[in-house]
């Protein structure tokens, strides 16, 4: 699987080239276009051994329940992937270094990577953002997407990130959900609410914009439902 990103950073799309026999797994609804020899199968999880329980867990993760698997027939093929919102993408080679990805940031991966739902404990419930995060493990290429620009932070020691701005982080990092200000009142009035405090050594990838902040700004401008 070879991934090429075009039109970065605002209107990024990923062009995934596949040889016969290679399979690309992508978030449902991400396909923009593809060569006509591409076969799509939709499953609840990875092609092998997907169970309904896992699928249900994925649903809770804010990801859709289903994943699409793209496999070219006979000749090489390509598939273009995009997102709903404007923003950048990131191609990450994984070499058995596990990655925790925020639900909405997963875009695609190749067969070498297993997508699992990581339960981050009750502490993440408090964060007010996506409760579940995906755990990517194995050897291969992963493609992540973000709302806005994406930038890595090398953490050595402690670092604090707003929960809505996390794209992914290395599993080597410990994290806890905490308040941003000195007191809870300050945090809530300051509009920061909860933040994620990382400790240890590893990388956190952050996005410049926060999906739910934008949504809340947009919401009142939209027509009332029903």
């Amino acid at each position: 699987m070879h991934v090429e990103l075009v039109n970065q950073p605002g209107n990024t799309a990923a062009k995934v080239s596949l040889r016969p026999g290679e399979v690309c797994t992508a978030e449902s609804g991400a396909m923009l276009a593809m060569s006509s020899n591409m076969q799509i199968t939709t499953t609840t999880h990875k092609k092998q051994g997907g169970s309904l329980l896992k699928a249900a867990k994925r649903l809770l993760g804010g990801e859709s329940l289903f994943l699409n698997h793209f496999e070219p027939q006979n000749t090489p093929g390509e598939v273009w992937l995009g997102t709903d919102l404007a923003g950048d993408m990131l191609v990450l080679p994984l070499n058995n270094d596990n990655l925790i990805v925020q639900g909405g940031s997963f875009l695609a991966c190749d067969e070498g990577i297993e997508v699992d739902l990581g339960w981050q404990g009750f502490k993440s419930l408090l964060s007010g953002e996506r409760i579940f995060w995906l755990k990517l493990k194995g050897k291969g290429t992963a493609v992540l997407s973000s709302f806005g620009a994406i930038y890595p932070i090398e953490v050595d020691g402690d670092y604090i990130v707003d929960t809505g701005h996390i794209v992914a982080f290395s599993e080597t990092l410990q994290f806890s959900i905490t308040k941003a200000g000195m007191s809870w009142l300050q945090s809530i009035l300051g509009g920061e609410g909860m933040v994620c405090k990382f400790s240890g050594r590893g990388t956190v990838w952050c996005q410049s914009h926060n999906e739910s902040s934008f949504g809340q700004l947009l919401g009142p401008e939209l027509k009332v439902r029903g």
Binding site: G10, N11, S28, L32, S36, M38, T42, P220, K223, V224
Partner: protein
């Protein structure tokens, strides 16, 4: 380090005394291309013809091509420039003499973040005063125009010679010269009204001397230009931005099944004739050469050439139909060109829908 990443861009401008036909022949010979492809290359110029060269090789290319009466410009690699811009702005300029850092409006896979950023900073009216500003001027057979802000925020500025008329999508005009006079025309009558496309096209005529018009499409995204020589293009309704009078704009009924299942508009716009045509998109535009077939999400089609046949079908099995998130797709067959956009209005609206207030 910057010297190693230079792109050679064929601007499409011709030296004096060279006709379009001669230029085609030159390109054909120089790049050993079939005649048709050479012609296409020139028609869709400016185009990147060589990527990632070191400055010496790039300069050689430039000399050879210019000797043959075609114009090229060299430009620094967009990514390199983008990164170095933050650290030291002056290092981003590759060989200062050659680089005009212009937007390559038509290059399909042209990520030019640094350039786009510069462009947005440039006020459109200031360009007449400052010729050194980044400009994507193209003057072959068509009108002079420039596109700023691609691929994120495409903005089109067209120079109209005296007496010249330009058809523009309704409400897309952002700025214009006082020499221009606007007339609103109903195009295509009732069928156009049904297409969901604005019923009215505005016609801007430079009646009292030359004029300039600035056009801002409704969606943030890319703009592309085609100089049409009698061919026909089909556009998704909404993709039309502007054209010269030689281009005939009609709406075309897709048939009940095609239109209905696609979830998109029942009509496509058919553009044919000779002249300039500008299209826009929501998101960046990607150009795809279709050899034997291609599948596109119905919400991501911008335009396609006449040679392509299409049908609406489901993406995989029935399970995929309901659960893949893709629903129906457009299957193209045959040979031709296809333009897709990297974002879709429908998908964005779907995302925004979850934030809609509920009635209580």
């Amino acid at each position: 380090m910057n010297n190693t990443m230079i792109d050679v861009v064929l601007t499409g401008e011709l030296a004096e005394g060279i006709s379009f036909e001669q230029a085609c022949a030159t390109v054909e010979k120089l790049f050993k291309l079939p005649a048709e492809q050479a012609r296409q290359l020139l028609e869709t110029a400016p185009r990147v013809i060589k990527r990632g060269l070191d400055s010496e090789t790039a300069e050689k290319y430039r000399l050879t091509i210019e000797k043959n009466g075609l114009k090229v410009r060299l430009q620094g690699d967009a990514d390199t420039a983008a990164k170095s811009e933050v650290l030291a702005p002056e290092t981003a300029a590759v060989p200062a003499t050659a680089v005009t850092s212009a937007v390559v409006a038509q290059a399909p896979v042209e990520a030019a973040p640094a350039i786009a950023r510069q462009e947005t900073a440039v006020s459109t009216t200031a360009t007449a005063l400052a010729p050194a500003q980044p400009v994507a001027a193209t003057d072959f057979a068509g009108l002079k125009f420039r596109i700023d802000g691609s691929p994120d925020f495409g903005f089109l500025t067209v120079q109209l010679p005296p007496g010249q008329m330009l058809k523009v999508e309704a409400s897309a005009m952002a700025t214009m010269d006082t020499n221009l006079v606007m007339k609103t025309k109903m195009k295509g009558g009732i069928s156009r009204m049904l297409s969901g496309e604005n019923l009215f096209l505005n016609e801007f005529t430079a009646e009292n001397g030359p004029g300039e018009i600035g056009i801002a499409p409704a969606t943030p995204g890319d703009l592309i230009h085609r100089y049409m020589r009698g061919e026909t293009l089909y556009l998704q309704s909404g993709a039309f931005v502007a054209s010269t009078p030689g281009i005939n704009i009609e709406t075309k009924w897709q048939g009940f099944t095609k239109g209905f299942f696609s979830g998109e508009s029942l009509f496509l716009i058919r553009a044919s004739g000779e002249g300039d045509l500008w299209l826009n998109s929501y998101g960046a535009i990607i150009e795809i050469d279709v050899k034997d077939g291609y599948v596109v999400d119905t919400g991501n089609i911008v335009a396609f050439t006449e040679g392509l046949e299409y049908s609406i079908s489901k993406v995989g099995g029935y399970k995929s139909l309901f659960f893949s998130g893709e629903g129906f797709v457009c299957r193209f067959k045959g040979e031709g060109k296809l333009w897709i956009q990297t974002r879709s209005v429908g998908a964005f609206a779907g995302w925004a829908g979850q934030y809609r207030p509920t009635k209580d």
